[in-house]
């Protein structure tokens, strides 16, 4: 007995059970949670259309709306930063398209480029201010949230004397590239492909490229990462730009699909995106998280929002249930992470 323990195995090559290894992944909680939420609603509201093709399509559509933003937000949070201006970027970029097409008669493709360009610029400003002032990104982007929303309302009213610009449908239908953002396959809008595609790209970047390691490094310990030669400032600024650009992409998809834009579009999206990333297993403090998890976070959000509808629960209760889900997800993820770090020690 004693001889067997005489030479302990080096902890770095210690065999770890499959279960523990799985629990070490940040997205596992989100996957199990999403499956569980689906089962609950499938049993509860399966006969009301929750599991039907059309029902699945609306769930995926709702998930895609937040998911398009959430994978970039997850990377940014892993790098240790917040972006609260996401929702305002959706509103501002949407009005660029709506006013550009509706008031100035610009071609749709040009306004799309302008909207994405606006997103990149706002992201750069966010990142530059955060890096240069070393202020918490929470405050910097909160300021940007208010500035952008106010500018959007003010400029829109000044130009159009309205707060909602519609009637874009003819121009959109005539545009050669609008279909990239508005196509539908049966009940399934192309936004779902954008969502999954962006999440896969984000996952590849995070797990298979040096840039991904830098993201983890920048969020885990920025000082240590900088000492190791990681360009922390550049990484963070690029992630701010990616986040705002993905918000602009969402705005483009929304405005082109609906044929109108209004100044309040995208409100609360910043919180939905953060909720999605957190349910997906990303830590608020940075250094740990997953873009795949954000897919399942978005799915959970979509299933909860639409599932309650299928189950016949009045929409009044949605926010309360979302809050409970968020707390549960954080508690469970926290527990998993502690287990994961324990297996390594």
């Amino acid at each position: 007995m004693a001889t067997a323990e005489a030479r302990p195995i080096d902890e770095r090559v210690r065999r770890v059970g499959l279960g523990s290894r799985l629990l070490g992944r940040p997205e596992v909680g989100a996957i199990i949670g999403a499956a569980l939420v689906w089962i609950v609603f499938a049993v509860w509201a399966g006969d009301r259309g929750f599991t039907s093709v059309a029902g699945t399509a609306t769930i995926l559509n709702v998930a895609a709306q937040v998911g398009i933003v959430a994978s970039a937000v997850a990377l940014l949070m892993i790098a240790g930063e917040f972006d609260l201006s996401v929702g305002s970027v959706v509103g501002a970029a949407g009005m660029v398209v709506a006013i550009g097409v509706g008031e100035f008669g610009l071609p749709v493709w040009l306004t799309v480029l302008m909207a994405i360009g606006l997103g990149l610029a706002i992201g750069f400003i966010n990142g530059y201010i955060v890096i240069r002032t070393r202020l918490p990104s929470f405050i910097v982007t909160l300021g940007m949230l208010l500035i952008l929303r106010g500018l959007t309302i003010g400029i829109t009213r000044a130009i159009t004397a309205r707060t909602q610009v519609g009637g874009l449908a003819p121009a959109i239908d005539a545009d050669p590239i609008a279909g990239i953002f508005t196509a539908r396959f049966g009940n399934f809008p192309v936004a779902i492909l954008w969502w999954i595609g962006l999440a896969l790209v984000a996952t590849y970047v995070l797990l298979r490229t040096p840039f991904g390691n830098w993201i983890y490094g920048a969020g885990g310990s920025a000082v240590a990462a900088r000492n190791l030669g990681v360009p922390v400032a550049r990484v963070k600024i690029m992630l701010f730009m990616a986040t705002a650009a993905s918000a602009a992409l969402l705005a483009v998809i929304q405005v082109l699909s609906v044929g109108s834009g209004d100044v309040l579009r995208g409100q609360d999206k910043e919180f939905e995106a953060i909720i999605t990333a957190v349910i997906g297993g990303t830590l608020l403090t940075g250094g740990y998280g997953s873009a795949i998890g954000a897919i399942f976070g978005a799915l959970t959000l979509g299933m909860t929002r639409q599932g309650l509808f299928f189950a016949g629960v009045p929409g009044d209760w949605y926010l309360a249930i979302l809050g409970v889900l968020l707390l549960l997800a954080v508690i469970i993820n926290n527990y998993i992470r502690q287990r994961a770090t324990r297996t390594r020690s």
Partner: protein, 329 residues
């Protein structure tokens, strides 16, 4: 050792969701009371653009719920969450409603171009749809059963007729939201209803009450023969009331209700207010749909069912104040 803690979390989630389900089951308890089984099986979904904080829509919901209880059917009400009008979220709710295969769908239609695809999806799925509150100009083209609401022009005509009966000779129509087509229609109807008595449209700024008050006072000073003013909403009525303080020669009336408007009518400082009686929009929306689903009955062959104008005058203002505290006006 990991499973028990896990299971606890999962069970908690299940319990929470189940609890919400139980809550819902009791809140639609009226369904189990009486009525034929055919009625019990019916399920109608209502999707509007009403904001949670808007007292107007609470009244609509109260009408919906009363119809649900009276008819003993299953009715679900939904509107986009949050405090802004979000046509994207509303279209998704309609898509979801369609996927849940209700027997009938009642919607409001504030942005026809944004909701067109979702509405078409419902019709393609063979679900009867009617609109309430907004969308009176497009419901027929979309192929909806009917529209239940106030038509602005006709309501304006009603206001003009009442104003003429009060003996006015020269009037103003105060528009606080220039560019809103519905408000233009109200002024046009007003002019029609006055039947030849002159009426001039005055534009004021919704967000600048002091400026609006000054503007109305300037109009009155410039043309002392004006003895009737119609404002198109409480945000126009409030500055008009201030502008007319101590001036009994001018009759004032307004569209839509607010506590200030009701008090002013009760005290005799205003002639009347036009109420679109949105409780009826909720109640009739559900009832008309239920009758159509069950028996194929449709009033007036699908013409607009008008819930307004209802007039609040000094005679009934006290009753309206009481009903508005109960969420019916």
């Amino acid at each position: 050792m990991k499973t028990p803690r896990w299971a606890a979390g999962l069970v908690a989630l299940g319990l929470i969701l189940a609890a919400c389900g139980a809550q819902q089951a009791t809140s639609t308890g009226g369904a189990d009371g009486d009525g034929e089984s055919a009625e019990r099986d019916m399920r109608i979904v209502v999707v509007t653009h009403g904001q949670a904080s808007d007292p107007f829509w609470s009244v609509v919901v109260n009408g919906v719920n009363q119809a649900r209880d009276d008819l003993g059917i299953e009715v679900e009400y939904n509107a986009p969450q949050g405090d802004d009008f979000d046509v994207v979220a509303m279209a998704q709710l309609i898509d979801t409603a369609v996927a849940s295969e209700p027997d009938g769908l009642v919607i409001s239609n504030p942005d026809p171009s944004g909701l067109e695809a979702a509405i078409q999806g419902a019709l393609d799925a063979g679900i009867p749809v009617l609109s309430i509150n907004s969308g009176s100009d497009v419901y027929a083209d979309l192929g909806l059963l009917t529209h239940i609401g106030q038509t602005e022009f006709e309501a304006g005509v009603g206001a003009g007729e009442r104003m003429a009966a009060a003996g006015v000779t020269n009037t103003l129509c105060v528009n606080q939201e220039v560019g809103n087509v519905a408000l233009d229609l109200r002024c046009q109807g007003f002019a029609e209803g006055l039947g030849g008595i002159p009426s001039r449209v005055v534009a004021v700024d919704l967000s600048d009450a002091t400026g609006a008050q000054a503007g109305i006072q300037a109009e009155l000073a410039g043309d002392p023969t004006i003895d009737g003013i119609l404002t198109l909403g409480p945000t126009g009525a409030a500055p008009a009331l201030l502008a007319l303080e101590g001036n009994d020669a001018v009759q004032l009336a307004t569209f839509d209700l607010s506590p200030e408007v009701l008090t002013a009518i009760d005290e005799g400082r205003m002639l009347f207010a036009i109420d679109q009686q949105q409780y009826l929009q909720g109640y009739l929306g559900v009832s008309v749909m239920a009758l159509y689903v069950q028996y194929g009955l449709l009033p007036g062959g699908g013409d607009i069912i008008r819930t307004g104008p209802g007039f609040v005058t000094p005679d009934n203002a006290a009753q309206v104040i009481e009903l508005s505290s109960e969420g019916i006006r």
